[in-house]
Assembly symmetry: C2
Homo-oligomer: 331 residues x 2
Amino acid sequence: MAVTMADVARRAGTSIAVVSYVVNGGPRPVAARTRERVLAAAAELGYRHNRVAAALRSGSSGLVGVVLPDTVNPYFAALGQRLEEALSASGKLMVVANSGYDGQRQAAVIDALLGAQVDGLIVVSAPGADDPAGLAAESGVPLVHVHHRPPGSDTTLVAADNAAGVAAAVAHLRGHGHGHDRVDFLAGPTDEGPVGDRVAAWRATGVPGELLRSEYGRAAAARLVAGLKAAPRALVAATDEQAVGVLAGCGAAGIEVPGRLALISCDGSSETGFTVPPLTTVEQPLAEMARRAVRHLLGEPVPGTPPTATLAIRRSCGCSHPGFSGVGATD
Amino acid sequence: MAVTMADVARRAGTSIAVVSYVVNGGPRPVAARTRERVLAAAAELGYRHNRVAAALRSGSSGLVGVVLPDTVNPYFAALGQRLEEALSASGKLMVVANSGYDGQRQAAVIDALLGAQVDGLIVVSAPGADDPAGLAAESGVPLVHVHHRPPGSDTTLVAADNAAGVAAAVAHLRGHGHGHDRVDFLAGPTDEGPVGDRVAAWRATGVPGELLRSEYGRAAAARLVAGLKAAPRALVAATDEQAVGVLAGCGAAGIEVPGRLALISCDGSSETGFTVPPLTTVEQPLAEMARRAVRHLLGEPVPGTPPTATLAIRRSCGCSHPGFSGVGATD
DNA sequence: CTGAAAGCGCTTACAG
DNA sequence: CTGAAAGCGCTTACAG
């Protein structure tokens, strides 16, 4: 049915070994004229390289598994897209799987990915998930965590350094005419993972303020705001999702942002440019994180110092900004 | 290195054929005691089924390729997630690829997917993309378009019926105390694809109003609003992205929504529950669309009538809504 | 530079 | 119910 290397070889009057050499550009040299004949035959016959046969023989499937807690969350969606870009630049195909923030499901999904003989695994650990390092090692598959790894794990983690960015956010709310003397922080339910680092960075500034907590979803953050007797005057939210929830809660409660509450979020996914008002954020260097994760999988050298998140100023902090939110934004 | 069926067979004192039968649950029956021995041996040895070897022999890789214009767009992200759910319920793994709204890239990506021997292809056609039906047929791979297929294509398309939903949106703006006598419509740059259907549905209502156009991105819609001398009083936007852009543009221009401009969008992705104000939308039945697409690929019967989009009322239309936007929303 | 042949780990007739 | 064996389409030593 499908055209095989044998068909091409027959048509080009050569062997399948030679066809393989030209299709793969190696590992043996092929005379220019032979190569032409092979290429012509392949084109005429409509030959398509069968990656699964190649995978079985060579041990490399060309597939990389990416496990994300929730691909609908714009932050993870953007990370996924960056990963796909980085992967496809190396000729790899991305197989994504949602864990749904569920450790059990994450394990199941990794199992399926390993069964598909992925060449590598990139995982954003679900809270409470087991460290998949053992499983990956058993199968000889390289593994790298991005954004979050299980507590106690010593697998490679690619994550941004948020300390300077959070400090800049806090300093921005205090200075620049915003002049808040207190800056509150909205964290997650626990201090596990990257959010914990952000909380620590906020604490390290020594600026007075209250620590608030909510689940990570938008609805939970909106609910928190609705239930507050006195809303903060200046707040840094640990994630975009929470900040969007705060905005929704403020909108419903008639609390003006930034007039009554100055808000800065962390993540900087694309949605933050189009909220009302547009969110000032501590932007994560997702493209760089994706590149590093892929380099790590491929065994290429990776810089020792983490990439840094940086403050992107829009309007939710109280800064005025020329024109509407979308100026300069590319969606 | 890896444990194979031969290893398991040896340990269980049986043949690899029998191991295959128990691993796959068929196609031949196996005696209960033999099956026990095989299962025990597999567990002891840590056997993992090698899907690529199985794929080469059986012709089925267990992989389904999904091509999306932009996985960061919440609408497509949500569709992707639903597809993954539907696919994994059938034991398939999803390989996603972004076309970036680019026909060339879409072709390249489909080529890679076909090379990976996917069992099926689900594509949301990029504007201007060639119909991949020929390529898919050549490889004997079933193909289904979702949401949008190339003009003139006669491949199977799974899309929602928006006529009733759009009509309901227009009627809602006219009646229910909103009482607008004109309802404008914000379309895309052309009337190709699903947005064209929505425009047609708006026209079919016969309600007076102006047809506005912008590119699909948020920024473009925001820019459009900024450039308007007189903003509409009542507007239906063809997509969530455009509606979010309109909201951003209105926020920057000081146009109150819904006070000054009543807005309804189409799509109903999760972000619309958390805008300020929350968007009333014509919600697409994504889960049902995903299920149908998968059923089609698997050759299972699919209902003849398309699933319908339905109006979900929140606040941007002018309705008041108890509590804050997030009530009842699940993120 | 080229070719014949083994073998990757399975599935699946086929024979018992 | 079970087993020996062919073969899926490649890649890769190996020999020429």
